[in-house]
């Protein structure tokens, strides 16, 4: 077991490239995946080290390379991702995987190909179409299986590996454990036993490290007897849910917690939406991932999940006793922004206060305006 200080040091280190390089040093082939819900277990079972290319705000400080390839009205997720891949001069990744999620991201494979090509580099990019038609409308299982088998075949050929059901079962077990630990951490935050800031750092760590290491880290954290002295968590403050495609920047997380708000749950794509569900089926990767996507925690990027989203969020609010809902909007994320007016309306009708904040690429440096709004929101909830 590592002591808290060591864990903290590790969590503060946010250079994603450095973290991914250490995976590579263990002689693993690294596959960078985007967006957030790739078939991680499958890649892991094939002997690859999957990393999730999301949330580079802390490790990518400028986007000069990206600016030569995509316009400034693309979201920060896309711009950071392009910058990260193009500035990876040592080619720490051996391949990329992407599936369909939004109108911006679907253009990225060829943009990355162009950008890498300018410096004589290339990277194999695997693409997969996840069916977005609702199951009650169209039986998508046949098409999905054909796409999944094609992906397995491509990976096998590209990396000279072979799929093994036993290894797949083992990988599923690891990711199941990892997701279970993520939920446990979230419940600690909800109880006020851990700060949301610390939880967010731990979850972020999972994007860029091996699942085995992430499990170890989370177990170590959960074994800690008491919260760290520097943590300012309110155990009795008003409970709120935070929602968005990215976690709030740490400056905002601090502002939320310093205002006495307790993050009782989250609807963050890179957090709860990613780990909320693991299928039971483990004997067939096609069936496993059909189940994985069809019963995934609703997300505006999974178009078929739209009908379940409102009810799921209302359930989350009820289950956690939240009094407020804080939407952290990623500027230019259309998938999220179409849903917000209706979501706010139904929450307000249920007596839940809402606060909508919009974050753009450089808003870490311009947070003062947000602080005032957060403090006012906290006052509202306390009264």
């Amino acid at each position: 077991m590592k002591d808290a200080e060591t864990i903290n040091e590790r969590l503060e280190l946010v250079d994603a490239n450095h973290k991914i390089r250490s995976l590579k040093e263990n002689s693993a082939k690294v596959i960078g995946c985007f967006p957030l819900y790739p078939p991680l277990e499958l890649f892991h079972s094939l002997g690859l080290a999957p990393v999730v290319l999301w949330g580079f705000k802390d490790s990518v400080k400028a986007v000069d390379s990206a600016n030569r390839h995509i316009q400034g009205y693309a979201c920060s997720v896309a711009r950071h991702l392009v910058e990260f891949v193009l500035s990876d001069r040592d080619q720490v990744m051996d391949g990329l995987f992407m599936y369909n999620a939004c109108d911006t991201l679907r253009n990225l494979p060829e943009i990355l190909h162009c950008g890498l090509g300018e410096t004589g580099r290339s990277l194999r990019i695997f693409k997969m179409h996840i069916p977005m038609a609702p199951e009650q409308q169209t039986r998508t299982s046949g098409y999905f299986s054909s796409r999944m088998l094609a992906l397995i075949n491509e990976i096998e050929q590209a990396f000279d590996v072979a799929f093994s059901l036993d290894k797949f079962r083992h990988s599923v077990a690891l990711y199941r454990e990892s997701r279970s630990l993520c939920k446990e951490l979230e419940s600690q935050v909800a109880r006020g036993a851990m700060s949301y800031a610390r939880y967010s750092r731990i979850i972020r760590e999972g994007c860029f490290t091996a699942v085995e290491q992430h499990i170890e880290l989370m177990k170590d954290v959960l074994k800690e007897k008491t919260p760290l002295p520097d943590e300012s968590v309110s155990e009795s403050g008003p409970a709120v849910i935070v929602s968005g495609i990215l976690p709030p920047p740490f400056t905002l997380i601090d502002a939320l917690e310093n205002a006495g708000l307790r993050i009782a749950g989250n609807d963050i794509a890179a957090q709860r939406r990613s780990y909320a569900f693991t299928p039971d089926v483990v004997d067939d990767p096609c069936l496993y991932y059909q189940d994985f996507y069809l019963h995934h925690f609703p997300c505006p990027t999974l178009l078929f999940s739209g009908d379940k989203r409102i009810a799921t969020i209302k359930n989350l609010v009820t289950a956690t006793g939240a009094k407020g809902f804080v939407f952290i909007g990623e500027k230019f994320c259309e998938n999220e922004y179409f849903e917000i007016p209706y979501l706010e309306k139904v929450l307000k009708e249920s007596g839940i206060a809402t606060l909508s904040l919009e974050i753009s690429i450089d808003d870490d440096e311009n947070s003062e305006g947000f602080f005032t709004r957060i403090e006012a929101f906290a006052e509202l909830l306390k009264n």
Partner: protein
């Protein structure tokens, strides 16, 4: 220029141009009338194959994107956008969506067509853009209207057989859904006839567009932008076929008679993106004064073609459903960069393009985010000068004419420099 020839030059409103207004008026009147008389109303995304609805006795369809384009053209785009923004929708969302939401939630007020009749079914299609699914989901939630999502895989390369089968499966499910909801039976023969009309209409459309190959061009892109409208509101009808036949015939006749929209055409340009609906007259007039003519657009030459192609994809009389599924990716947005480049290269070479205007459109990320690399490829590989200007296709508040023309004029200078170099014998 001889006096006799002078009289024939300049932009002439053809019979097809006058007839267009009547078709659009008639389409929207019929839509409202039939809906009022109990027709089953479907709202569709722009690329949903509307010929399917012709297979039913009493199903009518409306295209919110087309209505939004018309609203922008009539100058009410910003007004409707502001209404949507007032309801909490972000100003960063697509301006078509904002116009439509603003119109719908204000009961059709300020719309040039009195809005659209309320739908019984929403049919979105994510191959043009996935945001359309989110946009239609707004109505689905607010009104409880069922929402059918056509899920069409993006094309990084030519359509795969498995993707085609997947699309076919969904078309059949859509037919079944309408049968169940409307209580009407689908008639395959009516449907086949509609597909034949559309296919023939596309043949005439391509004939019309090819008049751009003449020097000077027989058309401006602004003519083709406005003439797209009936393809969206009258798909699968004889009226559409007749209209596009007349349009092509008349344009060819004008060319034969020496009547050209920009007679002193010196610069032949290509436009890449959705039409700037709020600027059609202004932009065409100002360009003509510079002897510049935008003679083609990826937005218009994609109609009737397969992904990566420029020429017509003809209907061979086989399974009409399969034909529509194969042609489902016709519009530009579902195409990857490689395919877009391929069709643009064909357009540039076949009709003689001097320069390309890439309209970077913040309301249409799916069309725009890849243009920077496409621009580089066009300039480097094809040696065709190009510039990028900022536009918003329907929200005039996000467009600055002077900024756009500063760049367009720079493009014309680049073309002159290239010509001078060429004359001087530089490589």
């Amino acid at each position: 220029m001889p006096e006799e020839q002078k009289e024939k030059t300049g932009h002439q409103k053809t019979g097809a141009g006058k007839r267009l207004s009547n078709i659009m008026l008639n389409d929207y009147m019929q839509l409202h009338q039939k809906a009022g008389n109990g027709a089953f109303v479907v709202w569709i995304a722009i690329v949903v194959p509307a010929e399917l609805f012709s297979g039913f006795e009493n199903v009518v369809y409306a295209v919110p994107e087309s209505h939004a384009a018309m609203s922008a053209g009539k100058g009410v785009g910003p007004l409707q956008c502001e209404k949507a923004e007032g309801k909490g929708f972000s100003p960063d969302l697509c301006s078509y969506a904002r116009i439509d939401l603003g119109t719908a939630f204000d009961g059709g007020k300020d719309s040039p067509t009195f809005g659209l009749p309320k739908p019984h079914l929403l049919v979105s299609d994510n191959n043009n853009c996935s945001l359309l699914v989110k946009w239609f989901d707004v109505y689905h939630r607010e009104w409880g209207t069922p929402h059918f999502i056509l899920d069409v895989p993006f094309c990084y390369e030519s359509q795969k057989e498995q993707d085609l089968d997947y699309i076919l499966l969904q078309f059949r499910d859509l037919i079944h859904t309408i049968e169940t909801m409307s209580g009407q039976r689908f008639d395959p023969e009516r449907f086949r006839e509609a597909v034949q009309y559309s296919a023939e209409a596309m043949m005439h459309w391509k004939r019309f567009l090819k008049t751009a190959a003449h020097r000077p061009s027989g058309l401006t892109v602004f003519d083709s932008f406005v003439q797209m409208a009936p393809f969206l509101t009258s798909r699968g009808t004889k009226a559409l076929t007749d209209h596009y036949r007349l349009l092509a015939d008349e344009t060819q006749e004008c060319v034969a008679q020496g009547i050209f929209p920009v007679p002193n055409e010196k610069y032949r340009l290509l436009w890449d993106n959705i039409a700037p609906w709020h600027q059609l007259n202004k932009m065409s007039t100002r360009l003509a004064a510079l002897n510049a003519n935008i003679i083609a657009a990826s937005y218009t030459y994609c109609m009737g073609s397969l992904e990566g192609e420029f020429d017509l994809y003809a209907y061979d009389g086989g399974d009409p459903l399969r034909y529509l599924a194969r042609a489902q990716n016709f519009s530009v947005c579902p195409h990857g960069l490689e395919l877009r480049y391929r069709s643009m290269q064909k357009a540039i070479e076949s009709i003689g393009i001097d320069g390309v205007v890439f309209a970077s459109n913040r309301s249409c990320k799916v069309y725009s985010i890849m243009q920077m690399d496409l621009l580089k490829r066009v300039t480097e590989k094809l040696d065709v000068p190009a510039v990028m200007i900022d536009v918003d296709h329907a929200d005039a508040r996000k467009y600055t004419e002077e900024n756009a023309f500063l760049r367009i004029e720079a493009l014309l200078e680049l073309i002159d420099i290239k010509r001078n170099h060429s004359r001087a014998g530089f490589a």
